[in-house]
């Protein structure tokens, strides 16, 4: 891609993507890429443990000169604790992203990510005898690269209470949580709206970019409901739809919490009901993030361990009279 246009595209891509969302179109997750530098080898990895779940969602990707690198031929991400190990064999929402659930317990603090070459295990989902029929091109150049993250203190939400009702997008959600030990905070939310006939479902993220001060782990923050509910006809400049790896993480989390019954494209569904005129269930996932470390062979990276807790609130549109 032309080097002049690439920065422009990166600048305007979120806006274009939002416009695409607001137009009610089916969303293609193919370019839901995290913001990565145009030059060099970039590592993305995140491990999130939700409340007291016995497994953590782990996601990872590598980018080279701004382009996601597909691990092929038996190269695969491995996520490991001292006692458990999984290969990230689920493809994520953009090329080169991978996800899996990693068993954890309260004693687990660190998760190690490695790129390994496992020509048989990586093919384990195939039906035929992969141990005798295996074209192995050998390890790729990313094999051996690694990163490490640690889980921050777990998140405990004190307010709002579950199923608190809100009637206006001008309302504020007063979030209150137990103070942590210096993590970075953000909110991921899945929103499902119905007007009785049609439905909409989408994901949003509220972080420091969207709301100044959100990232501070100070135990309280008020978030306007307009960060979650918008008018399909008018659009919104205040909403940041979840994308890139956060989308993958949230979808995986929803999938786990619903025992696999969530639509695999729940957060990318076509929007038909207008949220501002619909009853919406807003599942708020408050996340505490802690930066990890990546291999020095990477030029840059976003590597985080996170914990999360959930509370669900309800938006009921104001009653209108004819």
């Amino acid at each position: 891609m032309n080097m002049v246009f690439r920065p422009l595209l990166r600048t305007y891509l979120p806006g274009l993507a939002a416009a695409f969302f607001l137009a009610g179109c089916e969303i293609d997750g193919g370019d839901n890429q995290p913001r990565v530098p145009d030059q060099g080898l970039f590592m993305y990895a995140e491990a999130n443990r939700h409340e007291a779940e016995d497994s953590a969602e782990v996601v990872a990707a590598v980018f080279n000169d701004g382009e996601a690198v597909n691990l092929v031929g038996g190269d695969v991400f491995e996520a490991r604790t001292e006692t458990e190990r999984v290969l990230l064999t689920k493809g994520g929402y953009f090329d080169g992203s991978y996800a899996e659930s990693l068993p954890v317990d309260n004693g687990v603090r660190d998760v190690f990510f490695n790129v390994v070459h496992e020509p048989i295990e990586a093919r384990a989902d195939r039906w035929y005898p992969v141990d005798i029929l295996n074209i192995d091109p050998g390890p790729g150049e990313l094999v051996g690269k690694s990163a490490m993250v640690s889980f921050p203190q777990s998140v405990t939400i004190n307010a709002p209470a579950t199923d608190t009702f809100y009637n206006s997008i001008n309302d504020g959600i007063n979030l209150d949580w137990d103070l942590g030990n210096g993590g970075n905070m953000r909110v991921l939310a899945s929103v499902e709206c119905t007007d009785g006939l049609a439905k909409s479902s989408y994901g949003v993220v509220v972080d420091d970019e969207v709301e100044a001060g959100m990232g501070v782990d100070d135990g309280v923050h008020t978030i306007g409901l307009d960060k979650f509910i918008y008018d399909l006809d008018l659009g919104s400049s205040t909403i940041k739809f979840v994308s890139d790896a956060a989308l993958m993480l949230l979808q995986e989390l929803l999938n786990k919490l619903s025992a696999g019954n969530i639509d695999p494209d729940f957060l990318l569904k076509k929007r038909e009901a207008n949220p501002i005129e619909s009853t919406c269930e807003i599942r708020l996932f408050l996340q505490r993030q802690l930066n990890g470390q990546f291999d020095t062979t990477f030029d840059s990276g976003t590597v985080v361990g996170s914990t999360s807790a959930e509370v669900t609130v309800i938006y009921l549109p104001p009653v209108t009279s004819n």
Binding site: V72, G74, D125, R126, I135
Partner: protein, 200 residues
């Protein structure tokens, strides 16, 4: 070993019957469409097969059945996973040994079935491609073993010696690549065929 003994027993019974009653033989040649199922997430396209049977009638309603079954190279749909693009194919041959009961109506029709054991030889081939600059290729492996087959069919006597027939067949190859791989499988072949029979 048990399967081998059963096969030998069927051969012996057939030979003994042949010495007692050397008449009423039939040769069947059928062409058919196959559907393969390896029991996992496989997704094979429809294939073709040829079946040749020699029947020796021990009784008017019962024949010893010896056959040869050949499938063409049946391809799976191309697929993609985190390793790369891949496609498998299977080609199989089998020797069949069993019995064929039949019932002939007053009109020029009969119904029949087949039931017996098979000795199969199956070749599985995999093509894999990983993208630009990474060498892909093809790998294959063969195995032999035992299984069973069953079918039901109908025939129309075009003349006293020539029959037009259709047949629905189910064949199961047991434990393909057992002992060679940690991931053996059973291969089921379902086929619908039509063909000619000649009584002599």
């Amino acid at each position: 070993m048990a399967t081998t003994r059963i096969l030998l027993a069927i051969v012996l019974v057939s030979c003994m019957a042949f010495t007692v009653q050397a008449e009423n033989m039939q040769l069947d040649v059928n062409l058919g469409w196959t559907s393969l199922d390896a029991g996992g997430s496989d997704d094979f396209k429809s294939g073709k097969a040829l079946a040749v049977h020699y029947d020796y009638f021990l009784k008017p309603w019962l024949a010893a059945d010896i056959g040869l079954y050949l499938t063409d190279k049946t391809l799976e749909q191309s697929r993609q996973d985190i390793v790369g693009d891949y496609r498998t194919s299977i080609q199989s041959q089998a020797i069949l040994l069993g019995v064929k009961p039949r019932y002939r109506f007053e009109s020029p029709y009969e119904v029949f079935s087949r039931l017996g054991l098979q000795y199969w030889r199956t070749e599985l081939e995999v093509e894999e491609y990983f993208g630009t600059g990474i060498p892909g290729g093809t790998d294959s492996a063969k195995d032999t073993g035992y299984g069973y087959y069953a079918s039901i069919g109908g025939a129309y006597y075009a003349t006293e010696n020539v029959l037009l027939q259709i047949e629905l067949r189910y064949m199961k190859q047991l434990d393909v690549f057992e002992g060679k791989s940690q991931y053996p499988f059973d291969l089921a072949i379902t086929s619908f065929s039509f063909g000619l029979g000649y009584r002599f």
